[in-house]
Structures are given as C-alpha cells and as structure tokens.
Symmetry: C2
Subunit: 345 residues, 2 copies
C-alpha cells in the first residue's frame, strides 16, 4: 500500500464505516469506509450543513484549499462543511487499500450513484441531517452534485455543479478512456496486478501527458502560464506539476474513478430521459462552466443546466482550461465565491 | 514496403526527381522524389498555376477530393493545379520507401522549409514557373503555405492557409507529441525497426484513438455526427473510420510528419521574430480557421493572421473540429470556395 494516501498529505480526515455496502452494479464493498473532512460547527438546528464532493484524483484536502476558508463563500465560521472523498479516491475504500480478493483490479464496479448513497448515509447516520443547504463540487464532483439533486430532491436545498454535466458526453467519455488506456497499455500494468505503483510509471507518465493536453487548454500553453506557478519550461511543468501530481497515484484507483466519470448519468433514474431526471430537481441551482474547458466545454455544461428548473448558468473565466478548478488564478475564487454567495443568500 | 501508398489508392500521381536533396537540419535525402498530381492545363503565359500542399497523413488524392473540381473555386478548367505530397507522406520520399541505411527511423530529420524548397524546385524546374497565383493547404498544408509566402514572397501572389499557424503553438505541439508517443510506446515499435506495419497495430490503434479526441470535437460526438458518414455506433466509427484511415499507414512516416508539424515556424527566417517573418509576406492572403478546431483553434489562427500585412481572417463553421478539413459537410466546400473565389478574383 502506498503512503501517498495518508493523513500527512491529505489530512486531517476521518472515516465513516459504511458496513457491507451494496453497489448499483451488483457488487459489494465489505467493510466499506468513507473518508471525510469537516470544517466549522454544525448548528443546533442542523441547518447550516454544506457538502462538497471530490473530483477525479482529488481529495478533501484540495477541495478545502480551492473552496473553503474564512471570508470565502464557503466559510467554516458560518457553515458546517463536510467534504466527502469519493470511493476510489484512495482515502475512502479504493482498489489499493482493499485487501483480499477484492484488491486492485478486482475491486467491484462503482458508479456515481454509489458515492451519493454512501454520502447520504454519512450525513444522515453520522450527523443526523435531514437537509443540506448546498451540495457543490467540480468535475466528477459536479456529477455527484447532480446525482444528489436528482436522487434526493427534498434533501438538497441548493446545488452548484461546477465544470461538469448530469449526463456525460461522448467526447468526454473518449478523454477518460484515453486516460484509462494510457495506464492499462503499459505492459507492466499486467491487467492491474502490478506489485507497486512505481512499476507502472510509464503508464502514469503517459496518463499525465494525456491530462496535459485536454485537462488544460491552448491559451494556457500559448501564454506559458506555467511560469505563474513556478515552472521554468514546458518540460519542467509537465514533469514537475503533472508528474508531481499524478505519479504517486495508484492506477487502479484512477481507473475506477475514470470509469465512474465515463458513466455519470442521472437519466438512469428515469429510463434514459434526461429532461425528466433533471425535472426532479427542487434545489435552487447555479451551474458553473469554465470558459476554456476541453473536458466539459461551456456549451455542454449549458445543455444540462437548461434542463434544471430555474437553474442559473454562469461561465467562470479561466485561462487554465479544466484545471481552472485548481484555483491557481486568484480570479477563480472571486468568481466562484460570488456565484455561491448569490446562491446561498 | 506497404502497398498502401500506391497509385491504386492515391493516384494518379507522378514523381519529380530532386536529386540528392540537402535538408535544413543537415541531412541529405539521396535520390529524393517528390510525388505530385496535376489538374488542368498550364496556360501559355504560365499565369494560372496554383499549388496545394498536403496535411499530416493526407495525400494529393484527398486534397483533390476536398478542394478541386469543375465549378469549384479551384477549377481545373481554369487553373493549372499542382498538388505536392509532403516528404514523409508515403508517396514522396519517406522513411518507409527509402532503402538502405536511411530506411525507417534512420531517415533524416525534415522540416516544413525542406518541403517548400522541394516544391519550389518542382514548380520552377519542371514547369518553369516564376509565380503561383495561389498557394493553399490545410493544417500542415497551412504551415507550408505560410513558409512559401515568407520564403518566396515575390513568387506567391495569393496565399490561403487553412486551419493552421505560421508558428506552431505549444498545445498543438503536445497533441502531436501524444500522437508520436502513441506509436513509439508500442513495444513492437522497437525504436522504429519493426518489420511490418501490422506489428505496430497496437500503437496505430492508440494513435487513431488520440486523433479521435483532439482531431474532432465535442459537438461532433454529442450529436453523433458519425451517423452522417455511415457509422452506426461510436465504436463502429472509431474502428471503421479512424482505424480504416490510419491503420494502413507507416508509423515512421507519420512520426516524420508529426515532427515537422511540431516545429513548423516561419520565424526561423528572422531569428525568432514572427512579426518580422510574416511582415515579409507580399501575397494577398486569406487565413481560414475552423470554428471547432482543437488543434488550431480560431484564436490561435487569428494570432498569426494578424501579423500578415493586409490579411483577411475568416472562420469556417464546422461541426467536425479539425476534421472539418475532410469536407464531409457540404457547407465546408461552400464556405471555403467562397473565400477562395474572393481571394482569386
């Protein structure tokens, strides 16, 4: 087991015991754990809870860094903020930390809906909540946000999916498939039965390079914006940032998340009718897209926003493509916080 | 040698003997051949010649199919149209058809400038031309068009680079690098010393899948526009169209072209000063971008157009991304022909 997914880098976080957790696709995670972090205090009337969901490869730590803080829209002095790490994130139950026959590539198939059911158990059973003031998250976090609003319409008072869709589009499916293929095509991957992450370094490097192409955008590279984050050449950035970020991660974990991402689709609840599914949403909703996003371009994000009754649609200007979510540009937090404040007020 | 690059599929074409052709990067192609097709008749005063250049993986045949025809702007009844296959295309001198020590991966390094010098030899020595009414081409063909207009400003009366740039941008470099890596990472590639194209099928499939992501666009897949070209599912399209197109090609040929593409840069002529290089252009110029292009998005194409004295900039609407160049949409030819007619009149 890798040390990467621990309290040192990603904590503090706690774990909630889900028991034997039955999954939508038929499998069961035995002794399933959901890792989560909280910020702020739950009010006596339990009416100040916010849930943040995590993106592909992200954990509660980066969600905190990009969205939460005193003086920000998601202010722990005002709200009780729960950040739930998705299944497969490496902190919650994941291929790499599950022992026995379900280890690694034999971890059962998981869907976005399973994450949301697990999170619902956490917020009801652990915290006794009957509503959330807001559910928000970026990318796969937006997929979970949509799933929450469709599955538990009376629970979710407000929803703010950022840079994601309710039903994944085929181009985005292809991008995620390329990420999967980058790792599985490394001969050392051996159908997922590698002995250590280091063995699959070639596949992980290839995965990072694929992310470099579609996870950022043309503008970012043209204007050498990697200089703003401390890198001195394109290669320095590709290796230092993308390598630094992705190389310690477990390929089976990443692949599990990518497969969830590919199949994110709230219309499962309505026999494939996306309009009917999104018509169930009762939450006051603000959908945000990132202006230069290749994964989830504004036109695709808007498609789904238009099907949510009364939803607002906002485009966040960023020069970082989808990686705008990393909030490296100060203008990112300003824009997102403004939209969230309007939604929360 | 593969049968794929022959007269049956790509002809008719002829070859011009370039002799021992010295290259910008220092190598020499001995007994170099330039394959070209012509349409129409050269006028007695030799004032009706047009040159079309080829894109990555394309040959004179597809340039003819997408740009040339009676009643079109590039009408062989009016113009003498020469289509020159780039070095590495598989028809002109290329890694796969060069025997002896320079075969395959040992073929010397070639740049866009070499293609243009070779084409200049063809049109001056073979056809005795002293000017071209128009140079045009898409993608890498646009790179060659820019190179022509900068290198031989008095020769090129009009220029129409389509969906390409004068100096390749770093995001586009990354895309091409991903294509190269897709093939070289196949263990069967063996540093380019494979025995047959079929051995590198895994790498070629991976290359086709990478092209599927960035060579088309989100809109194309969202609206399942592959249905319009006779395919019945996404997989059917990926295998039937992209596999059908790319799998017969020689990886060393593709890699040679991709490396030219990556390093396309007319500012080599002016010590890195792109404005000074494009300031040399005397041709009346219309630069076209494709509205949904991920390789060369309109903003990047416009950057360079703005540096060409008096150039017009037009955005061609397409739902096919960069692959709009394949002219599968009838509206593509209509728009491009309109722009070319205005330029030629």
């Amino acid at each position: 087991m890798s040390d990467f997914y621990g309290q040192d880098l990603h904590g503090p976080y706690e774990t909630f015991d889900l028991g034997d957790f039955a999954l939508e696709d038929g499998g069961t995670i035995r002794g399933a754990k959901l890792a989560y972090a909280t910020h702020g205090k739950l009010s006596t009337s339990k009416d100040n809870a916010i849930l943040i969901t995590t993106w592909y490869s992200g954990t509660s730590k980066i969600m905190e860094q990009t969205l939460v803080g005193p003086g920000r829209a998601l202010d722990p002095e005002r709200y009780f903020i729960i950040i739930a790490n998705q299944i497969g994130s490496g902190l919650s139950s994941s291929p790499h930390n599950t022992q026995g026959p379900f280890h690694g590539p034999d971890f059962p198939s998981v869907r976005i809906g399973d994450d949301v059911v697990a999170q619902h158990k956490l917020v009801t059973e652990k915290f006794g909540l009957s509503q959330l003031q807001l559910v928000t998250g970026g990318s796969m976090g937006a997929q979970q946000t949509y799933e929450w609003a469709v599955r538990y319409p009376d629970f979710v008072r407000r929803a703010a999916p950022i840079a994601g869709t309710a039903k994944n589009k085929p181009h985005c499916w292809l991008i995620a498939q390329q990420f999967i293929d980058a790792m599985t095509s490394d001969p050392a991957f051996r159908d997922g039965y590698y002995n250590s992450v280091e063995e699959v370094r070639l596949g992980l490097v290839r995965h990072a390079r694929a992310f470099a192409v579609t996870g950022f955008c043309q503008h970012f590279y043209k204007h050498e914006l990697w200089r703003n984050v401390g890198f001195t050449s394109l290669d320095d950035f590709l290796t230092g940032f993308l390598g630094g970020y992705f190389l310690p991660m477990d390929p089976n974990n990443l692949i599990l998340m990518a497969r969830k991402w590919q199949r994110g689709d709230v219309s499962r609840h309505t026999g494939g009718d996306l309009k009917a599914a999104l018509g169930r949403v009762k939450a006051k909703t603000t959908v945000m897209a990132l202006s230069t996003d290749i994964f989830f371009p504004p036109a695709d994000v808007r498609d789904d926003a238009e099907l949510v009754p009364g939803a607002k649609f906002e485009v966040i200007e960023t020069s970082f493509g989808h990686a705008g979510l990393f909030a490296i540009e100060p203008s990112y937090a300003t824009q997102v916080d403004k939209a969230l404040r309007v939604l929360l007020d």
